[in-house]
Amino acid sequence: MKFFIIFFLLISINNLRAEFFEDLSKIIDDNNKRLSYGISVSDVDLDGNYEFIVTGFGYPNLALSFKNGKLKNINQQDIFSDPFRRTIGVAACDIDRDGFEEIYFLNTDTYSGVKRYSDRLIDIKDNNYFDLFELENNRKNLNLTAGRSVVCVDRKGNGKYGIYVANYGGPTRFYEIESDEIKDNAVDLNLDNVTGGRAVVSGHILTDRSDIFAANERGANYLFKNKNGKFEDVAFEYRVDDVIQNGRGTALSDIYYRGRLDILSGNWLGYHRAYVLKDDQFKDIGNKKFDKPSRIRTIISADFDNDGFDEVFMNNIAEPNRLFKIKENGKFEEIKLNTGMEADGYGTGAAVADIDNDGILELLVARGESKEQSLTLYKAKVNKHSKYLRIKPINKFGAPARGATVTLLTNQRKHSKTIDAGSGYLCQMEPVAHYGIRKNEKDFKVEIKWTNGKKNLIEINSLNQTVTIKQK
């Protein structure tokens, strides 16, 4: 009898442990069913806190801010909400070096090729948003090609971001501001390829400057190596071209906890990749559970449960989401989801941010596409003794240093994270490196590699804080 009791007790403990997330969706105010796609995280009202920017496909774009225990839409301006356009991709970064992150809304009213309505590039003046593309001198450079994801790239490392627009069935665009005018410099930078653009990330992948990895459909992926601000596609040489698979979501992750960023790439109904660089080639080390084909959209690498090991969240559409923990030596261990599985969810995008500033990441999931669904919000059930450290690099112009790399150095690990410039599918995460702390971990230092390749080393004397580091 005693054995039976112990046996069932152990099973019960196991089941309790399996509940990784708690569902916080109820705190989202006016959480109506809608068609949502990409999500970005930026400070849209310049109050020092981040908001989730949620795109709407024929529905308003939202700026969800955490106020009084609720996630509320704080945007009331039409040019931002723009419900008549169909927005799917979004990324924010400071393109004019004024400290405010301009927001690129990628609109798509057709699957591929020529589209009717252009994208928007939202800036702010006197608390009023306006669309830079609506200014007369910018109208000749509208993006009238269907697209998907966008990513911010500080290609010269001077804090002046450009925006890579992953178009579908037309040339890639790379927008920058020159003499108060938006210009597409894709041709000059060797980026104007025509493909089925899907997902894109930028950061320190190969060089000390911002490189770009673009996961494409019906064509090879691109790995653009930064060569003095211009780019060369080296995907074939580095073995990430994955020609006959269809890219969907991608993220940068330090899979080996070795102090460098490697690449996660989710393929639509294909093998998902966990590429780690070895001897000048990327090797896919994803195990059979990890690489199992699924209807993937966004892929996120983040430490949700503050245990010091990153998880990988795979957001699938009309198929259960999946979650893996990356253990030492690149071992992917699946975490069974009940809450957050969303077997009937039409996931289209997702992003993480510590939106309530409690030291634990929230995961916001956008849903829609072929079925109107509400947003969902999750947070990991965290051990109450867990600790965290959040590093927030700010560049010389007062803007988030998207594309910079933060590396946590301790007695146990050398763990790099990118300051997200755009990732997942259609999305962009908060511009903060969030670390949970491992058991018996000590001797904390943080190294920032800025977008110009220069490094700063900072001693960390206390945990459970967000450290803002300004570029000198």
Partner: protein, 229 residues
């Protein structure tokens, strides 16, 4: 009794807790990963021989060799889903003209007909990591002298001038190896009856193989036929 029970529950619990993650070799994924290496110009039309050469050049076991060879179509050059079922069929052996039976993994059923009609099998020996093995392979004659070499096939894959390009494809006694006949053996009477009465290798193939080439519409086979006939 108590000891046995406790052992049983401990083992059961361990199994329950730790689902085994046996990371077997994923042959299909490996071919997908290396696809752009096998076909640098991305033209895989009728390029089963390229797959065969790529696989035989690997340092692998005989089991690996057989598994890899289940995953592409020797006729069309297409990749095949890992769970696909083969057709049991025969082809004539080059030397003896005897019928050799075995399994053929195909992308679509017309390819089974084409391989029966336009290829011949040969016995081949090769040393794998686990020793020397003998098996049957499908072969076609050297197509490099053809004036009507199919334009949709990359000739450089197959030919070096009028000779077989030994760097790109496997040359066996002056013929190009296009794929593996799985579980190949001399046919018995029952085998031949089975093949002839099967709805694909019998009835359908009879129809297809008596249709003039210009009237063939299904599959990639017409390209292969032009290459192999």
């Amino acid at each position: 009794m108590k000891k046995t029970l406790s052992k049983f529950f401990l083992i059961f619990f361990a199994l329950f807790q730790f689902e085994t993650i046996a990371d077997e070799k994923n042959y299909h994924k490996e071919l997908i990963t290396d696809w752009s290496r096998i076909f640098p110009d991305q033209n895989r039309n009728a390029a089963g021989p390229k797959f065969f050469k790529y696989i035989i050049d690997k340092k692998i076991t005989y089991k690996d060799f057989k598994e890899f060879n289940k995953l592409y179509c020797a006729v069309s050059g297409s990749l095949i889903d890992p769970d696909s079922e083969p057709n049991f069929l025969y082809a004539n052996e080059s030397k003896t003209k005897e019928k050799i039976c075995g399994n053929y993994y195909k992308c679509c059923i017309p390819c089974s007909c084409d391989i029966m009609k336009y290829s011949e099998v040969e016995k081949m020996k090769h040393k794998f990591l686990d020793g020397l093995k003998e098996f049957y392979v499908f072969t076609i004659k050297n197509p490099c002298n053809k004036k009507d070499f199919p334009s949709r096939v990359n000739k450089d894959y197959f030919c070096n001038g009028k000779k077989i390009n030994n760097d790109q494809v496997y040359n066996l006694n002056g013929r190009i190896v296009i794929g593996l006949l799985h579980k190949g053996r001399k046919c018995k009477k029952d085998d031949i009856d089975f093949v002839k009465n099967h709805q694909v290798t019998g009835r359908f193939c009879e129809l297809r193989n008596n249709t003039p080439l210009e009237n063939l519409e299904a599959g990639m086979g017409d390209i292969f036929i032009k290459l192999a006939r």
